[in-house]
Amino acid sequence: MDMMTDIEIYNEDAGALSATLFFDLVKTKEQNKENPAFLFIQNAISGFGLQDETWSNRNIATGIGTEERKSPFEELYDKQPPEDKIRRAIEKAKRFNLSPHKNRITNRLQYLLEITLNDPEENGINPESLNAFLAFMESIKRLKYPDITLSPAGNITVRWRKDINRNLCIEFLSAHDAQFVVFAPNPIRTLRTTGIIPIDELWKVLKPYQVNRWVVNK
């Protein structure tokens, strides 16, 4: 059987690479070592200080694709202290985030990071929550600048409040889920709704409450 190799390397976020390799599963590590692509990837990974043992055992010898595994770069990212992940996310946002409020947002995040570092009782900022928040702010055009605070769990929480009947609060629980509370005006009684939903669905769920009328700049 001919060796089949498919390689993708892409810039996942600032300074980090993520690689996905598909090697012919019948080939051994020794055989794969003859493959120029394998050597290229191995050299690239060693540049990031990753142990050859981790790479070879988990991704080559056991065969990628037999089950979903984290790439070596993702494992490397996971090993970073949360503080480093936060700093990197803020730096990345300063350079690449498309939100019109990015300077104010990154200044606020920098402040929140500093106060959590100075308070031993603070949980610190949840990196997944931070990244989800930054992506959300970037994804909705013309969002007004919200209040940005930290929940006791270290999640990023944002609020827009126009008046007693127009209130939206979102806590980014993880990379995928958010908890929200929305108050919206209604002829009879104020609508009050809360829930935990996938972040991708958040704006769709909020749309009937017409939050875009007071959360988004015209």
């Binding site: 959590t116 308070d119 605070t149 929940s151 006791p152 929480t157 609020r159």
Partner: protein
């Protein structure tokens, strides 16, 4: 004073709000009133019990 003691209407209570829970105008938000891991229920401090003579000292003791 014990848990459940009644606070006279003339007295005051205060809750320490961590800086990260305040908005940029230093106003407490909903995050300020989340239960902390050490709290079985929302807790406040009886300011007159902390220092009946000096409000600033009483507030300082909350930190």
């Amino acid at each position: 004073m014990t848990n459940g003691s009644k606070v006279p209407d003339s007295d005051h209570i205060a809750r320490y709000c961590k800086p990260g829970t305040l908005n940029e105008n230093k106003i407490p938000t909903g995050d300020s009133f989340y239960l902390r891991s050490s709290e079985p229920s929302l807790t406040v401090n009886w300011l007159e019990f902390l220092d009946a003579n000096n409000r600033n000292n009483a507030i300082e003791k909350l930190r």
